[in-house]
Symmetry: C2
Subunit: 406 residues, 2 copies
């Protein structure tokens, strides 16, 4: 039923988007301002960073979404508008400007920023660019919007699927940016989603929260939870089926399946494109006592700097996986743990019952040299499992972050 | 009263030590086996890693110290004897061999290993080398022992002080190894201490636990808590004063002060010599609501990969400090937080009341380019403080850990 379709945040009919360079970033070739607009009033929901230091636009968006409705998304890169003088006032000013240009109320706007912390938002640059940005809105503009929210991302991240609800085709699409300051703790990056599904704000919020927990919250690039993280969704109802009013509605699961598929694709793309990353690392834990235990264990493995550097070197140093499992904080009987490494190049079991096995080092190296590697852990203690998504730690992560502000 | 004196684990009279190459490591120039011996029965205490995956020697030492007494320390580098076939049996075998050579009981031996996880301990190599190691025991051998426990450490770590108790000179000395898989969670490395102080096992344990909490447990190199961490101390009583029988004894504080001084010196040395580190990074938090809050906040800052890479680049990216404080988990009012950077090159305030200040970038770069840098945080919320000790994250950390096993 679920079908992967092209496009991203404008895949669902009725949504347009645009992205352009307004002057926040020095590189004029890099778009730094994105706008997404729905052709009608939408149910809206978002999840936010758990960091106690929260960027000003987080507070503004939270207030705007108090009524569960929204219509447009305005996001810039190059400046986080966090810990910056005049932050709240500036976030409100750009919303007011966007509302004026689009003929909306300020509270219809979802706003966020990403980039350097502590620098005042260049409000005039954004205000001046808004008319041109609004003129550029189109279905095709989703790709430009995805470019405009990138920071150190090396490629844009878009995904979309369709499903069928009450005989109507329902589309869920989205775009995300990730790269650095990425760690599982609520939403851990920016992701903006749109859908023409007819769904009330309550179940929309429930679907988004649970989906974020299983996707974005299982990604870590560097263990740092950003001040600006947000995942937001607009649901227009344009698909025309009777609205989903409750998570108990059987159609809720259909929508949720589509939402999960888009979010998982974007989450994996964020991990794969982590700052300096050369490969996507998936830790698949099974045999745990609960899903939470499995999640805690999987996250600890993909977060370990020692596991990450070993994977950069394609070195089968599985002891570091055991070590990370041991300090994760979840129950673990080391003597029951099996570990294997797998990828398109094959599979090798390296540890059984908590002790090392002789294994083919050449094959292991080949397996770990692929662009996607899975670390399989069986805890031998239960029937629950979870996956977490990370990347390796390379010289380039150090290079990128040794001098990020210039 | 406290005096810094030369030497390390043999600074206290009555202790001898030796280190040699027994064949665990391929590089014959690198000693890999260390022995420390007291000339009499000692009160003994240790604190251990909190990792659920614990190396075999941790379990063996725990059993040996159940009676609060000990006499010798045997430690090897090059192999962690963790998650390795025959681990417990091998740890017991080397203790038995050492006891036979030294004429002690097995339970007199504190044993530990450090190095690669998952590889069987080369017991024969250790057994064969023990007679020569025992023959080499001397006061001067403390330096060799400190070399023999090093893994990726670039320099040995020794410290010693004297204090006066009841008119007698009491010495506390020690050696440590650190470098990688270092994270605040009980003792986070190996440290072996000796003293001629007369102190019962109970207060000795209390002193060591509290001292470790304030020193080693505030160090992080890479966020990974090792499977083999241990800090152990032997107290011979040779100084000849009436024994300290309780932490309420006013002389306990004198001993504790000496112990803290040695442990803090070794802890800072571990941070400074973290894998790939180019500088020691101290985060000094004050104005917190409790010491625990201050500790949690300081640890979060020195653990952040983004703070660490910025410091490698001597980049005054203070927003990352705010970000780390925000996700640390301790209470924080961002609008009350001040941040300054200081070193021998000067001091610059970069953030006041949670917002950035204009500052001299050239001066900030100069300050952050020194070999020891302090990140000063004032939470503006209370009267408590704590320091944590870390290092920067450099290309060399990635290089060292991309191919650690070979």
């Amino acid at each position: 039923m679920l079908q992967i379709v092209p496009g991203g945040v404008t895949a669902a009919p009725g949504f347009t988007a645009a992205g352009l360079h307004c002057g926040i970033r020095r590189n004029q070739a890099k778009p730094d301002l994105a706008l997404v607009l729905a052709d009608r009033d939408c149910a809206a929901a978002a999840v936010y960073t758990t960091n106690r230091v929260q960027a000003a636009p987080i507070a503004v968006t939270r207030a705007h979404l108090a009524d569960g409705r929204g219509r447009a998304i305005l996001a810039n890169s190059g400046c986080a508008n966090a810990c910056a003088p005049g932050g709240l006032e500036n976030a409100r000013r750009v919303c007011a400007a966007a509302a004026a240009v689009l003929g909306l109320r300020e509270t219809d706007i979802i706003v966020n920023s990403t980039g350097v912390i502590g620098v005042p938002l260049p409000v005039e640059a954004i205000e001046s660019a808004l008319p041109a940005l609004a003129d550029a809105l189109s279905r095709a503009g989703g790709a430009d919007a995805a470019l405009a929210i990138m920071t150190t991302d090396t490629r844009p991240k878009e995904a979309a699927v369709t499903t069928e609800i009450d005989g109507r085709t329902v589309t869920v699409g989205g775009m995300a940016k990730g790269s650095g300051m990425i760690h599982p703790n609520m939403a851990t990056m920016l992701a903006f989603l749109t859908t023409d599904c007819a769904i009330a704000p309550g179940p929309l919020r429930a679907a988004l929260a649970d989906s974020a927990r299983r996707t974005y919250n299982r990604v870590s690039v560097d263990g740092d939870t950003s001040t600006n993280d947000m995942t937001a969704i607009l649901a227009s109802g344009a698909a025309g089926h009777p609205p989903i009013e409750s998570p108990d509605d059987p159609r809720f699961a259909l929508f949720k399946e589509a939402l999960d598929a888009v979010n998982l694709t974007l989450a994996r793309a964020i991990a794969r494109d982590g700052e300096g990353a050369t490969r996507l690392v998936v830790c698949r834990v099974r045999g745990a006592g609960s899903e939470t235990d499995a999640e805690v264990l999987a996250k600890a493995v993909i977060t370990s700097s020692l596991v990450k550097t070993a994977l950069f070197g394609a070195d089968a140093n599985w002891g570091r996986v055991l070590c990370a499992l041991g300090y994760a904080g979840a129950p673990l009987r080391p003597e029951s743990v099996d570990v294997a490494f797998s990828s398109t190049a094959g599979r090798v079991v390296v540890c059984r019952g908590g002790e090392g096995l002789p294994f083919d080092e050449t094959l292991a190296k080949e397996i770990l040299s692929q662009s996607e590697v899975t670390l399989e852990v069986d805890c031998g203690a239960g029937a629950h499992g979870a996956e977490a998504y990370g990347c390796d730690l390379s010289y380039d992560y150090v290079r990128i972050n040794g001098d990020y502000r210039t």
